[in-house]
Amino acid sequence: MFSFGLGLRTQHYHDFLNTQQPVDWLEILSDNYMVDGGKPLMMLDKIRELYPMVMHGVSLSIGSVNGIDNSYLKKLKALEQRVQPMWVSDHLCWSGVHGRKMHDLLPLPYTQEALKVLTRNIHQVQDALQRPLVLENVSSYLEFESSEMYEWEFLSALCRSTGCKLLLDINNIYVSAFNHGFSACDYMQGVPAESIAQFHLAGHQNNGDHLIDTHDHPVCDGVWELYRKAVKHFGFVPTMIERDDNIPPLEDLLSELNIARSIASEEINQRTAS
């Protein structure tokens, strides 16, 4: 089924409340609503009455060797009960150990040991949420000597061992492929198609010899091209534009989302015709 969404940002609260906008769902940043009360939760409840939602977090730290922070998981569960989202996602990363919080999506080594830690942590989260967790591939700027497999092999093994789903961020594949010199097509061929739950599209910053995942630019041509290949390979997957900084008016993001609609439609029609 075709479905397209946008990330809900405070700048667009009134646009979404005042007019029914042409999106099939909204993705909320879970962490922004894991608060005691006030305006964030009030606006969330009002907007939730009008749009289906999915939840996307940044602080689960699923790859932390110390395990999952139970108080965070409890708050996540409470928000999940409140929002009743279609799915709940976070990132394949770690964000700090021993009580320190780095507020970043830090990369993991792709080792058998990391696979065991992730499997343990994902099972804990899925048991608490009583639903499969959706994990997003992150952009990265370094790789580890200790890695024993490619990222896509690691993701596939994780899906097999836990039943978790994947949020493929097409921009992140593009950024990491550039930074580490692997093939974005090999990546997409290597992950299990049946596990893909969502696509993200976003912009990045090109610094010549490396790319930084900034989410403050429109989607670039190279990422649109990769999205076309992704739709060709995986079929249609729920897709959204993710913008976190330098937020433009809503109509700009809706126009960008229409580009995704056109590409997906063209590719699906071609698949059907052939």
Binding site: G37, K39, H103, L142, H180
Partner: protein
Amino acid sequence: MKLEELQNQFQSQLLAQNCKDADWIAASSRGLSSEFRVSIYHNAYRVRLAETLLDTFEHTANYITVELFETLAYAYIEKHPSTNTNIGMYGQHFPDYLKQELPSCQEVFEIAMMDWLLRRAFDGPDSLALTKHRLESIVASGADISLLKLVPTVCLYSQQWNSLDIWHAANHDITTPVAITLPEPITVMIWRKETSPHFRSLSSIETKAVELLQSGQSIESLCEILNKQFPGLDIATEFGKLLVRWLDDQILSSNID
């Protein structure tokens, strides 16, 4: 390298003042040093926290200039690693840090406290406020009201400087008054009314009354204490005036005993 050691070493690099090369990082296909690649994460950590401080302490930054604020913010970040999953909670000790770093500008501490407490009121716990109509219906029903409770976002703090005026000027982008000490310290109350944080200064009798409500004193006991501390005033009349204002300000919880 085991995962635990790798995460410890990576995090230590991010928290250290300077980055260095690391042999646990694989060679870059683009010829970039490991030090440079770690520095991307090293910088991002500091920039995110500094942006959070600037967002939370916006009026403080406007008062002392953004340049000085950023210098102090980056120095604070080196000394205070983040320990809260919610990045918005970073900066709890920043007002105290400013007090220590700017000993001749103590009003800055008070402005920073205003910024911090207003932010906490913004997304603090919800509570239905007691309305005049609800209070009247309780009284009409003959129920006995012995205790009034405050909504959970109410907090008090004392100011010795004209920080309230300075904060107000920064908020409205008007000429900032010169910092002066007040003849007497004042108490400022901060709370959330509907979805917006509010603040105002309190008289000495209102300060005492709100403190007594915060400590869980019954209305009877509160009036007895006020009678003793303010012998020249008609406490029944004063309490009536306070009650009207509190209902209007929505600082009383509808959860009453």
